[in-house]
Symmetry: D2
Subunit: 302 residues, 4 copies
């Protein structure tokens, strides 16, 4: 259960109090504010605040006095131009603040994106909740046999059952001992900053995460990608749904140039030029390694 | 004239259209939005957007679901605690976006603060305006004789007149030639990206500058300081006036712990301890250099 | 055992091959290169590379052509001046690259220092070793009763024994199951990126961490401080020993102005001024909260 | 004259004193150390220090104990893999420190790359030299008629002469007045921090600039590109010559995947797929704007 009734009441209270502002407002994003979008078994993402909209990107690009745009269509064209030519600074002029609840092993990947602001729930001060990520049966993937870093087929039968049993039992026992160690009933009680070391990486933590749109796009390109670990990809996907409503033109350009695009090397461009002239090109004549050629074929197939 | 009637009309239009939002709103900051606060002879600072308020700082520190605060008084106490113990991340959860018009030599100092987002008016694309910073007579300071980096007394008489004449004439001539070089009447016209090299460092440029509150405080501590160059200090002072209305509790803590505070060394703390015991301490017995001792005496006098 | 014989042989091989360079060399640091300084029960810190020395700080401050310094004494004076006046950029001109082996819960604190470069051992690709941090009996502290974030007295007797037993047993069992889950003997084998979620936060990880001297000092000020958690402080202390030999003048200034110094607020400076005039000041008349007054008294006592 | 005899003597002295180190050494880079590579009429780039080599990239990627590589060939393959899959952190493990002398208008573009460390020669403290960038006749380009941001044909005849005369005369006069204003002979002398505002943007400044290899590649991709302004591109080109000798494998991968590569959008990839099937695609049917289509045709032509 990602949100308790008390927490829901606080969220409802915030959503019940619209106020007046002179700032840029994105209606699409207002609809998302504070609501928790559920992710995994106990996690969520919710927007706490945002700054700017599509027009604000154009306004910054033009360093203008007013809204800085003549029409929504012009804005979309300018935004595509900026995205295509890697003019990243206008996208940095939009900002988003999220509240995220996520397993620790996902948080450890996430935090590697350094150009962001983070406040994490402190396990030195506070007591963590008894909530662990336990994968659904269909997400219990085997180690890939072709990719050291990837997943293969789904585990089945006894093997799957054993894995789930281990994950649940070990987490439960670790948490029981965590609670017992920090308890001050009839004993001193171990310091929280020490006791937490007994907790496994599938325990949930939460944080406030604030990032500008340029760096968010970078995060989404890597983490909403099919090569990202499933457990972080679902968070990236959830954020995509919000960004799409927040800055539709910028998100459209991002989808075309980044998510759906590809970075081709000089060698790969050469191959394409030859192919377009009708020449045959093979992995051997391309100068690419087998892995690179396979990726190249994937791009050409779409 | 920092703002033309057209620009003022655009600003008025933006201020005439309040909209509804569910986000945190700072009434103090809404009053400033879009309005240009004049700085120097042609410059200004104006707030384009902001994110968060005092309560948002506390909310982030607590990673909370609702507004995260019980009372304004509790907020102020927590904010003082966070500031005192260098917990900088909650302050990073507030963000401000400014439109600034400023002389190039000021912009060159300003940009050294790297943790910010910037979109500057492009002199490759566009033609710069004929606007130069010419100091007021009372700001024409001589080189300091005690501080290599500082200012001494105000210039007077013929010397002051000559300086002003040079600054005005040289800027005017440089701009005439700039215009003449880029003109395409009866000639090809020099590329703008080249012609701009003829313009002096007191020409005005403008940019959108976005920064979080923690890094803004760092900027203000260095640039609103009495050792900062006057021409950037007036911008920092203007920003202080806005921040004071935006996040009053955070600004109060900043004034107490940073602006009005001092960082004392181990040696200096030792001296104070001795002095409080009634011992006499001199520069010679303090272990400090003359310059450091002079600064220390300044702190003790207040 | 932090280093295996094979690893030691690799280190020895690197230390046996001095080469010629025209770069700045710090003899003090050369003596540390590659050697592992043991920290906690299985961890270590070792220097992999460094750039610059005390002279390089001065050289950068002066943007000079040669070594940029006249004498070691002048260097030390300039470095103290730079540190005192928060001229941070010359210190950024030195860089250090460390190889660190550390428990995951320490890594999670450490990574919050964002201005650094990190390559961590990947538990998606690779299999983690069976090594866990188990505190020594004397480091098993109780939760502090005065400070939510701190440690109190040392646990004793049965309570201490039970804690150690839980930590050891739970870690061992979690690792057994980790191994069993990823095994491909007679089964598919769970993906490593999933299996790792069963491992507790006291398992060891390792990374390469590269940072400039200014940001390293910031890290050390916070983490070698008495308020930092013991398990990260011992790493900071180990790094201090290396930095002292690498850039002795800079480290001396850091100790005086940062580690041994204090940041006093405007209110606190006022109190000191009154006290020096012989006036009595109490918590009530100071305007400080009780917590702040206690800290202030601590500074005055030394 | 970019380097005076005195400065050359300092450089020679540094190059005459090889010392022993246990660190990674790049022979290719040692040959460049301290030597000034001339750029434009008075500028230069010279390497002051560096950290790491190709092997260090692999070593970091593997978080290894020893040199971390089996053969130069394996290294090159791994480096290509890392570059192709945007694994940027291993490249961040190499660092370079440059001393650059450059016109102020170039410095203003350069500094927009924020993830770097900079110490610039201070015109508040010191007196700038009388050195200005005056373009060669063949670099006096007209404003482009097709690209707002670009250059067209070379100016000729009287127009070119007039431009050069203006640039020289205005710079000379501005500097005469600068000198006269700061002079303390028979007058107080204007503060340096004020007098500098009279100097045009083609005056030379200098700085120490330190950056990691990943961010340097980003800089080079944008600034060694044909769309970059000529006056910064020549600096980027000069740096490429050094990097090629420093980390040959990484530079090779950079040339293939970044400099010679292209980022194609989803739409563009669709077009290529259709073309490879023999379908005709035109700008109208492509969904691209005219500008984008022109760029796409450019990529296909090579």
């Amino acid at each position: 259960m990602p949100i308790t009734p008390d927490q829901q009441a606080e969220i409802d209270a915030l959503r019940a109090q619209p106020r007046q502002t002179l700032r840029a407002v994105s209606e699409g994003m207002e609809a998302h504010l504070y609501k928790a979008r559920e992710v995994l078994d106990h996690g969520f993402v919710r927007v706490i605040d945002y700054m700017g909209d599509d027009a604000a990107i154009c306004q910054a690009a033009r360093v203008s006095y007013g809204k800085g745009t003549k029409s929504v269509q012009n804005d979309a064209g300018l935004i595509r131009y900026l995205m295509r030519h890697w003019h990243s600074t206008p996208f940095e002029m939009c900002e988003i603040k999220l509240h995220v609840k996520l397993p620790v092993f996902v948080a450890r990947q996430w935090i590697r994106h350094r150009t962001a602001n983070v406040n994490e729930y402190s396990a030195r001060y506070s007591i963590l909740d008894r909530e662990f990520y336990i994968p659904r049966a269909e997400d219990l993937a085997a180690q890939s046999v072709v990719n050291n870093q990837g997943r293969g087929e789904t585990l089945t039968g006894e093997e799957a059952e054993r894995v789930l049993r281990y994950l649940k039992d070990d987490a439960g026992r670790a948490y029981d001992h965590y609670e017992e160690m920090i308890s001050d009933e009839g004993q001193q009680g171990l310091a929280r900053e020490l006791a937490r070391m007994n907790l496994p990486a599938n325990i949930y933590t939460q944080w406030y995460w604030k990032v500008d749109l340029h760096n968010l796009f970078h995060f989404l390109r890597l983490r909403a990608d099919s090569h990202a670990q499933y457990e972080i990809r679902v968070y990236a996907d959830a954020i995509c749904e919000m960004v799409k409503d927040w800055v539709p033109a910028a998100f459209g350009a991002f989808e075309d140039y980044r998510m759906g695009g590809a970075n081709l090397s000089a060698r790969q461009l050469d191959c394409i030029r030859k192919m377009l002239k009708g020449e045959e090109v093979t992995q051997e004549t391309s100068g690419m390694s087998k892995g690179e050629w396979r990726e190249f074929e994937g791009v050409l197939k779409g």
